[in-house]
């Protein structure tokens, strides 16, 4: 079984303002894009980030071979509960999802 990280070139997560997190899956090739875009379920991503799937935004960008997800941050940036000021580590959760 392959993970998203095995197939994609790179998975990046960043803040999109203090209240949102965004994860960019750079698939690298049309084949990898088709595989990830086709098999990666939004519900799986939402569960990994522990957010409601209704709150998850998804963009399948074939021109860029990118699948992008944005979600309200699990903890607002910089609050007591936040552990990652720049949201950089959430990419690992998505990269480790099995397809």
């Amino acid at each position: 079984m392959s993970t998203v990280g095995d197939i994609a070139l790179k998975v990046r997560s960043k803040n999109a303002g203090p209240f949102w997190l965004t994860v960019d899956i750079f698939c690298g090739t049309p084949d990898a894009y088709a595989q990830i875009s086709g098999a990666l379920q939004s519900a799986t991503v939402a569960a990994a980030l522990k957010v409601d799937v209704e709150e998850l935004k998804r963009f399948d960008l074939a021109d860029l071979n990118v699948v992008k997800f944005s979600a309200p941050r699990p903890a607002i940036q910089g609050t007591r509960e936040d552990r990652d000021m720049h949201g950089a580590s959430f990419a690992v959760l998505i990269a480790s999802l099995t397809l």
């Binding site: 960043k14 803040n15 999109a16 303002g17 203090p18 209240f19 949102w20 965004t22 960019d24 750079f26 990994a48 980030l49 522990k50 709150e55 935004k57 963009f59 960008l61 021109d63 860029l64 990118v66 992008k68 944005s70 309200p72 699990p74 607002i76 940036q77 910089g78 609050t79 007591r80 552990r83 990652d84 000021m85 720049h86 580590s89 959430f90 690992v92 959760l93 480790s96």
Partner: protein, 448 residues
């Protein structure tokens, strides 16, 4: 055509001097640089201070001021001093005055302030002029009084007004990252979709190129779109590096909301004009109500941090139980001995300190760090409880039937006060009749 030179993604980050010199030789109409964002966290807006060192800021700003004098065009900085609060604008103005005094420069400086008094916002809230953005809810007026700083994000109209004073330098408080770049092209009649789109591509300097750290880029705006070219030697912009930048720190890669409308890039066409430049056409600006985004930060307590290191294999193996037991026992002891609310948290560095409960694959190695975080409403209480936590981190046994263990501490004293902590607490927009209603411009002459 309007030519905008962007020295780097932010003042204080550094840039390639040869690339900047090449850009100046290309005779730009304006030099625009960003001074901050929320990405560094709530401390800076909460305290109205800059993240970057004063000396680094001054060294780079001095070079940009010299480049501006050589080019003979305005230099614009947005979100001065990391957060764009009024005090951060004053901080950069003070640095600018120092440089002008040292170099004997005569300058006209337009200072654009974005700070928002709580009372004015309470009146706007009562008048139905403040609305929440997802995932925020309705705004409680009391929250406005609790903010130590509130800013509104200026757009192109306010930057244009500042440029219209004939200033050599515009020092702006909080603006959108794009406004400082898009202002002059829009004022001079360039394609509005192209202006906003090019500004978004350029706001991080060379991040939308093959060499993100090379800093300087040049964007030519015209009636149908824009052309972006990097100034660094051997650096290339490609249709992929440029189009992929719409993803960067954006929750929506297609629509970008700005004061007075939104940019839609769904129909944008990216073409390589040569081996290193990219032409973009087809993006649209969709005008809407004139709203500006608000940002606010409030103090949320005081923290004291301690770090203990655990290397004993049996303790590493049982680290979670050890930490849970310490939190329970120390909380009970502190409750009996202090007045006031406090919270004790132990994060296990080397296990799941980064992702917490989201990390289902966490695995400890040969050692872990235990970071004790005590949060309270006063600094004294946070230190007092942190001192009660120390004996546990130093000697707490896994069972009663064993010799007293001792763990490693890298410092004496082990308690590190973090001072006041802050949090972002506004995610709302304010409707304005006139873009200047919530902003102020002062014109200052120095060296005259």
């Amino acid at each position: 055509m309007v030519r905008v030179l962007i020295p780097s993604g932010a003042l204080g980050l550094g840039y390639d001097r040869a690339a900047l010199a090449r850009g100046i030789a290309m005779k730009p109409d304006v030099i625009a640089i960003d001074g901050g964002s929320t990405d560094s966290g709530p401390h800076y807006l909460g305290t109205g201070t800059s993240k970057y060192s004063r000396n680094s800021t001054k060294a780079e700003w001095r070079e940009l001021m010299a480049a501006r004098a050589e080019a003979g065009v305005p230099l614009v900085i947005g979100t001065a001093g990391t957060c764009g609060a009024d005090s951060a604008v004053d901080w950069l103005l003070d640095i600018t005055r120092e440089i002008a005094a040292e170099t004997g420069a005569r300058l006209k400086i337009a200072v654009l302030k974005s700070g928002q008094p709580a009372d004015a916002l309470k009146a706007a809230l009562a008048a139905g002029r403040i609305a929440p953005l997802a995932p925020a809810g309705a705004l409680d007026p009391a929250l406005l009084d609790n903010c130590t700083n509130i800013v509104a994000l200026a757009g192109v109209e306010q930057i244009t007004a500042a440029l219209d004073t004939g200033a050599d330098i515009v020092i702006a408080g909080r603006t959108t990252d794009t406004a400082i770049i898009a202002a002059l092209p829009i004022q001079r009649g360039c394609h509005p979709g192209g202006a906003w789109h090019g500004a978004k591509i350029g706001e991080c300097g060379a991040l939308a190129t093959t060499h993100p750290n090379s800093g300087t880029i040049l964007i030519d705006f015209d009636e149908t779109g824009f052309t972006m070219q990097p100034m660094g030697e051997g650096v290339r912009a490609t249709p992929h590096t440029v189009s992929a930048h719409m993803l960067y720190e954006n929750s929506d890669p297609i629509r970008l909301y700005e004061p007075g409308g939104y940019l839609d890039v769904s129909q944008a066409i990216y073409t390589a004009t040569d081996a290193r430049s990219v032409r973009v056409e087809g993006s649209t600006w969709v005008p809407g109500p004139y709203t500006v985004k608000l940002e606010g930060a409030r103090r949320s307590g005081f923290q004291t941090v301690s770090i203990a290191l655990v290397r004993d294999a049996r303790y590493v193996e049982n680290i979670r139980a050890w930490c849970d037991d310490i939190v329970t026992k120390c909380t009970a002891k502190a409750n009996a001995r202090v007045e006031g609310e406090f919270g004790i948290e132990l994060r296990i560095i080397g296990l799941d300190a980064t992702l917490g409960a989201l990390d289902t694959a966490a695995q400890a190695g040969t050692e872990v760090g235990v970071m004790g975080i005590v949060t309270a409403q006063t600094e004294a209480l946070s230190m007092e409880v942190a001192k009660m936590l120390n004996p546990y981190l130093l000697h707490h046994p896994l069972s009663e039937e064993e010799e007293m263990p001792t763990f490693a501490f890298p410092f004496s004293p082990p308690e590190m006060p973090r001072g006041a902590i802050h949090e972002f607490c506004l995610n709302h927009i304010l409707t304005l009749d006139d873009p200047m209603d919530a902003f102020r411009i002062d014109v200052i002459e120095v060296g005259a």
